[in-house]
Every structure is written in structure tokens, then in C-alpha cells.
Amino acid sequence: MDTYFLMQLINGLSVGMIYALIAIGFTLIFGVLNVVNFAHGEMYTIGAFAGLVCINMIHAPLAIIIVAALVAGGLSGIGLERIAFKPFRRFQDEASLKSRAMREATLLSSLAVSIIIKEVIQHFFGAEMQTIPGQYMLNNPIQVGPLSLSSGQFLILGSSILMLGGLQYVLYHTRIGLSIRAISNNPLGAKYVGLSVDKTIISTFAVGSMLGGAAGIMVGLYYGAIFPTMGFTPSIKAFVAMVMGGLSSIPGAVICSLILGVCESLATNYLTQGWSDMVAYSFLIVTLIFFPQGIFGSRRERV
């Protein structure tokens, strides 16, 4: 097989993994609350900036930087939930938890919070791309047979597989994961058997935003691009992947993210950089028109 093609494939897989990490956050939050968190892209930005601050302040090794991004993502996820979602959850019954008014209010409040976060970051760091010290950049070439890959691709693929495994463990083998799954299945039933809806929602936001934050710093170091609006495009694409995957299916979201990433990087053979963004948006429109429930979605009544 063509080596260039293989390299693009691996590149696409690593981009797809990043989308997957963001899409999982969207999917978890949608599963539990039935709302779309439009500030999720900002968790990605916050992760990247937290890593950058760590690099500049304490010159920490890479592992610690990623941990810092995870922590920053998790904490800001919790903060986001408290500020933008909690105040609108005035009633606890299922009808109002999943009501349309609640959905629209939180959609707009998360949008508002995302504007505020973006502007505050821009105020403190400036709108331009941040400079990253050379030794932290993840683009050392690594030769594997005829392929020349970079260390960033290995790091992204490796650590995202690690994080996906961790997520699987959390969701299926811990109490928190069990309650997240219970509440996304049936909030009222979960409440009746004694689960705390509030705590579970917080932990969902924490888990989802941690993955987003980690994705942010990895992309930032791989592409060398950390700037206040960096979260927008990847989060829209992750969102597309989530819709393609059927909104509340994690495997669906991951598979669709990988498909999206690979298609995008293969499309750069034929299209220029700017137009390759179209791939994701046309996937979105095609999915919504032909498979409104998503390719891997369970059957729902109406979409």
C-alpha cells in the first residue's frame, strides 16, 4: 500500500481519537441531562492553557502537564455545571429534568458561559497563538519502516486508548460509573433507589471535561497551536460525531469520530486545507437527513 496513504490514515486516526475524547464528554452529558453542553469546547481550551501555564511556570515533565490538564478540565467542568446548569434545575422530576424549556435554557446558558470563558482567556493571554517551548513540542519524527510518524501521534493514540480503557473501567466497574449509567437510563428510577442525581451529574461533567482537557493539551503540543478560540472547530466536529453516533452511544461516538478523522485527513489529498472542514459539516447534514437517529443510535420515537 502507498506509504503516504498509510501515513494519512494514521494521522486521521490520531485526529479522530481527539474528536472521540471530546465527543465522549458530549455524549456522557447528553445521556445524563439530555442537553447539549455548548461550553464543552472551552474545557478543551482550558486544558490546553492549564498545560501551557504548567510548562511556563514549573517546566514540568510531560506526564505532569497532562495530569494538570486533566485536573483543570475536571475542575472547570464542575464549575461549569454549578454555574450554567445547576441554577436551571429547579425541579427534580423527570418531566422537568428533560423538558424542552430546561434544554433551551441550559443550551443558551452554556453558550453564554463559553463566550465569557473565551473572552476572559483572551483578555489574560491575548488572542494570538501562544509560544510553546521547543522541547515540549510533540513533533519529533519517528521512523517506523518506510513511514515517518511523529511522537505526538504516538502519544495521542496511546494515551487516548488508555483513557478510553479507563473510562470503560469507570463506567462499568465503579459506583460513579454505575450511577451515571443508571441515571442516563432512567433518572427517576435511579433516584428512587437512592442515587444522588446531583452528585452524579457533577461527576459526569468532571469525567467528560477531564477527557476534553487532556485532548486540548495534546493537540496544543502536537500542532503547536494554543489560542483562545482553539476549542470551537474540534468541538463542532466532535459534536457531529456524536450526532452521527446517535447522541447517547459512546461506542458510536468513538467509531464515528474515527471515521470523521480519517475521512478528513484523506480528503486533504483532494481538497485544500480550508475546504476539508466541509467534510464534517456535509457528514452532519447527510446524517441528519438520512439517518436522523444516528448510525449507531437506538430507535427513538421522534427526532
Binding site: 447539549v36 436551571f88 443558551l108 473572552e119 476572559v120 483578555h123 459539516y281 452532519l284 447534514i285
Partner: protein
């Protein structure tokens, strides 16, 4: 109701309309030209344009309840159509203006045809995708749109041979157009059509069962709304003289949505107030420097939290419409109001 009261209602309605017209056409330009700062005039122009955009978006997002996250795309289609027709074919303002509206309306119908089956969040996502597609196209189709460099329109607004070059005269062109479009949107909002849209918003299955053709109605509303947005875009292109894809990206859609939400979903006077607030707020808050966009976010957040119905909620807007125009609706044309 006695005849006497009917008269006073219509008098009050006329007085209100006259007062607003006097404010827009007399007081505001008077004060602005007295102050003599051309910058304020430009702010007033863009405020009026955004009033039309917000009022037209209110028709679909507020009255029909279709959350649209890509409205700036239609704004951009209108603006670019007008600019391209003017620079490449030399069409006059009187032609590019309606053609900009028609192009945006056609695009709206094209978008609406496949997406109108979708409800709530799915529709929002689809319009977001459309908005991004239009933005990417404007940005990358360099041979047509000159990409990120933007387009310039050198020809001044010309109507029947009269050139509108001064800022004050451009203001009057925009003001007249804004008044006419807002009046038309107001009549659509408070008619049988508007009420049918409200019923679709509240429960589309129920509306369908009552004999309303939901999809057709939604497409009509979407076409009307995008038409007026395109019109506003064409006016923007001609009055500003320069457009670039940056003015029609996702954040712009969000700004328009914020105007409608802050003013009150479903209330036309509310969305106009919201547009004025969000255009004038960054100017008033100029002292905050970089932080003025934060102020926009904070206003949006607080208004959702504290005023879930908006500044001028839909219920009170309908009350006003009923009180003022009762004479017209109370008698033979009472469809949908009783």
C-alpha cells in the same frame, strides 16, 4: 365594546406608531447630527440593521420555536449576493436589495426542505452545520468572494439617480427599510399566520391534528424570516461598503440569537430591544476595553437566569398588540384571538 372605545384604541395605536416613527426618523438622526460624530451614526446604522435581523429571527426562533444556530449564514448570503451583483454586473441598489433578500430566502427554503422534519436540538444542529458550510464557502471560494480579504463596494447607494453619500442620508435609507420590514414582520407575527406558528411551537403534533400543515407552515416562516435577514444583509453590504466572511460566522449567529433571547423569545418588540441593547452595550461599555465582550456574555447569562421570559416577554407583547389593535381584530377578523 362601545364605538367610543374603539376610536380611542385606534387613536392610541396611531399615536404609538407615529411616536416611534418620529423617534426613528426625527429625534435620533437629529440628535446624532447635532452631536456631529460620524461614528455614532455608523453605530445607529448597524443597530437598525440588527433590529431587522433580530426581528426576522424572532419569527422562526421565537414564534415558531425553531432554534436556529446559523442565521448569520443567511445574513451573509444576502450581503454577498448584493455585493457580487453590484460589483460584477453593476446592478443598482434597487435591484440588488430585493435580489439579496430573494437569494437568502431561496437558500432558506433549500435548507428548510430537508431539515423541517427535525425537531428541537436536531434542527439546531442542522442549521449550525449549514451556517458553517456557508462560512467555509465564503472564506475559501477566493475566486468569487475574495475569501478572507472581503469585498468592497465602491458605488454609493443610488435610488432613481439620487446618490445617497452622506451618513445622514444613508441612515434614512436604512431607517425607512427597517421600519417597513419590521412593520411587515409585526403583521405576520400578530395574524392568523403567527398564531398558527405559535401553535406549532407549543405542540406540533396537536397542530397537525387540528388541520395545520406543519411542514409547509414552517417552510413558509423560514423563507419569510431568511428573506428579511437577506434584505438586512444587502443593506449592510451597501451601507458599510465592505463585507468579509468574519461578519457571518458562528459567533455572529450566537449574537443574533442572544438578541432574541435577551429581548424575549416570541416577542417582536423584545427582540428589537435586545438588538439595541447588544449593539449599544459594547459602545457604552467601551471603557471596559477588552472586557466588553465578556459583558455581552454576562448580560446573556443573567438574562436567561433572572429574566427567563426576556426583557419584554411574549405574553406582554401579545397583550400590547391586542390592546392597541383590538379595533382591527375584535370584529370580523377575530380568527385566533378568541
Amino acid at each position: 365594546m362601545t364605538d367610543n372605545k374603539l376610536v380611542s384604541h385606534s387613536v392610541r395605536a396611531n399615536l404609538l406608531v407615529l411616536g416611534l416613527l418620529a423617534l426613528v426618523l426625527g429625534v435620533v438622526p437629529g440628535v446624532l447630527s447635532f452631536l456631529g460624530k460620524s461614528y455614532y451614526m455608523q453605530v445607529a446604522n448597524s443597530a437598525l440593521i440588527y433590529c431587522v435581523v433580530a426581528a426576522s429571527m424572532n419569527l422562526i426562533t421565537g414564534t415558531a420555536g425553531l432554534m436556529c444556530l446559523g442565521h448569520a449564514a443567511f445574513f451573509g448570503i444576502g450581503a454577498y449576493t448584493a455585493a457580487l451583483l453590484n460589483t460584477h454586473f453593476g446592478l443598482p441598489f434597487l435591484l440588488t436589495l430585493p435580489l439579496g433578500g430573494v437569494a437568502a430566502g431561496l437558500a432558506g427554503v433549500l435548507v428548510a426542505l430537508p431539515t423541517m422534519r427535525l425537531i428541537s436540538i436536531y434542527f439546531a444542529v442542522a442549521t449550525l452545520g449549514v451556517g458553517e458550510i456557508v462560512h467555509v464557502t465564503l472564506l475559501n471560494w477566493v475566486s468569487l468572494t475574495r475569501g478572507p480579504m472581503g469585498m468592497q463596494i465602491y458605488e454609493p447607494i443610488t435610488i432613481f439617480g439620487h446618490q445617497f453619500t452622506g451618513l445622514l442620508s444613508i441612515y434614512y435609507v436604512i431607517a425607512v427599510l427597517a421600519c417597513v420590514s419590521i412593520y411587515l414582520l409585526w403583521r405576520m407575527n400578530h395574524s392568523y399566520f403567527g398564531n398558527a406558528l405559535r401553535s406549532v411551537r407549543e405542540d406540533d403534533q396537536c397542530a397537525e391534528a387540528m388541520g395545520i400543515s406543519v411542514v409547509k407552515l414552517k417552510i413558509q416562516a423560514f423563507a419569510a424570516s431568511t428573506f428579511f435577514t437577506g434584505l438586512a444583509g444587502a443593506v449592510l453590504a451597501h451601507s458599510a461598503g465592505y463585507i468579509s466572511p468574519d461578519s457571518f460566522q458562528f459567533s455572529e449567529s450566537i449574537l443574533i440569537l442572544t438578541m432574541v433571547v435577551v429581548g424575549g423569545l416570541g416577542s417582536l418588540p423584545g427582540s428589537i430591544l435586545g438588538a439595541l441593547l447588544l449593539i449599544l452595550l459594547p459602545e457604552v461599555a467601551r471603557g471596559l476595553g477588552d472586557m466588553r465582550n465578556v459583558a455581552v456574555g454576562v448580560v446573556m447569562f443573567l438574562s436567561i437566569l433572572l429574566l427567563p421570559k426576556g426583557i419584554f416577554g411574549e405574553v406582554s407583547a401579545i397583550e400590547v398588540a391586542r390592546k392597541l389593535f383590538n379595533s382591527a381584530w375584535d370584529g370580523r377578523n377575530a380568527v385566533g384571538w378568541k
